[in-house]
């Protein structure tokens, strides 16, 4: 076998092995999307009820609560960025990080310092490499977050929020979250949302039907709000994590599908090249034999 043909065959073998891996990853991600979507759906009733309750309390009570009133002179903002722990998901993590950069630029324009809270190894790696300050980081659960994980993150954010940002350097006045919204199998958008202070009108959840009833609060609106808002933030963070997880799987499936398709194309063109090389080798051998036979024939006829 000629050298050229051997090189082509070797490359084909390597591409085929890679294709097997990407194909397997594609199938795994595809099956996990469904599970992740179900978890998003399962967490929706809780989030909806909570949103409904928060808007009811915020609408019908005149209580001034630190979690709902914007600071008059905001100094710092916390930005929570949710990314993946692993790569091989196309631009998934990068999109979220880029969205974070945009939000940070926007906040800086308003004169706020940005404190970064990061979820997922990809964001942590990005910030570490650039020697940026990280206020909080959590890794290891990006593809399958639990409520406990969300609570840990949310509690850190709330703790920073309740500190007085005017006097305490670790206190923040605003909390923003960047996550990847799972719209469908094909569309996922990285988006930034302000979590605190509260924007009472929520567009992502369907508006409550009809007017909200006049609630009686037990024991009173202030206490209810105190108890409600941390849970609300936890549920929001949890929902953001679940959607991001579903998006991560969808992004990985798509990336792996195109990798598999590219491997197919590559194998096809390598096969063509290998065939041509083999044919060229055969042609050359034939012409060598024919040439050799001719030379032999003319040599023997000349000696007669």
């Amino acid at each position: 076998m000629g050298a050229q043909l051997r090189v082509y065959r070797r490359r084909m073998r390597s591409v085929k092995a890679t294709k097997k891996i990407t194909k397997a990853m594609e199938l795994i991600s595809a099956s996990r999307i469904v599970k992740a979507q179900q978890r998003v759906a399962a967490s929706t009733p809780y989030a909806n009820e909570l949103t409904r309750a928060v808007s009811a309390v915020a609408t019908f009570s005149s209580t001034v609560h630190p979690l709902t009133t914007p600071s008059e002179n905001p100094k710092r903002a916390a930005v929570l960025i949710i990314t993946a722990d692993r790569g091989m998901a196309g631009a998934y993590s990068n999109n979220a990080i880029k969205e974070g950069e945009q939000l940070a630029a926007l906040l800086k324009e308003r004169g706020l310092a940005v404190k970064s809270y990061l979820v997922g190894r990809k964001a942590v790696g990005y910030y570490r490499f650039r020697n940026r300050e990280i206020s909080g980081q959590w890794t290891g659960f990006s593809d399958n977050p639990t409520y406990e994980d969300a609570r840990e993150v949310a509690d850190a954010l709330i703790a920073a929020f309740v500190l007085d940002a005017q006097t305490d350097v670790s206190g923040v006045d605003e909390i923003h979250v960047i996550y990847t919204e799972f719209k469908s199998m094909l569309t996922q958008n990285a988006m930034a949302k302000r979590m605190l202070p509260l924007e009472v009108v929520e567009s992502e959840t369907p508006a409550p039907v009809g007017l909200l009833p006049m609630y009686e609060f037990e024991p009173n609106a202030g206490v209810v709000l105190d108890a409600l808002l941390p849970r609300y933030i936890q549920a929001r963070v949890f929902n953001a994590m679940l959607q991001s997880a579903a998006s991560e799987h969808a992004a990985r499936r798509r990336a792996m599908k195109s990798a598999t398709d590219n491997a197919d194309d590559l194998i096809k063109s390598l096969t063509r090249l290998a065939n041509a090389a083999r044919q060229a080798e055969i042609t050359q051998e034939i012409s060598e034999i024919v040439g050799g036979a001719d030379a032999l024939a003319s040599a023997s006829s000349g000696s007669e």
């Binding site: 809780y46 009820e49 309750a53 609630y215 037990e218 206490v223 108890a227």
Partner: protein, 83 residues
């Protein structure tokens, strides 16, 4: 006339259906909800929530804190974990 009851946790909808009465423990004490209860929003403490379904069966849940909201014969109980 029955109550539409939903007991939900962050991970799943634990119970939903029609019920005759619901009782739970709020920070102010035990509370029982029947139909046409006035709109109420209460903070729950750790304890039992019992739901008497329309078919007469009673289901009890152990909840760890949470909220109870009642409006227009619709009762939602939100809790972080159900034991």
């Amino acid at each position: 006339m029955t109550l539409k009851v939903e007991l939900v946790s962050p991970a799943e909808r634990v119970w939903s259906g029609e019920a005759v009465s619901v009782s739970a423990r709020t920070v102010e004490g035990d509370i029982g909800i029947l139909t046409d209860h006035t709109p109420l929003f209460g903070v729950l403490v750790d304890g039992q929530v019992s739901i008497e379904a329309s078919d007469g069966s009673t289901t009890e849940f152990k909840v760890s804190g949470g909220f109870l909201s009642v409006a227009n014969n619709r009762v939602s109980i939100l809790t972080e974990s159900v034991g």
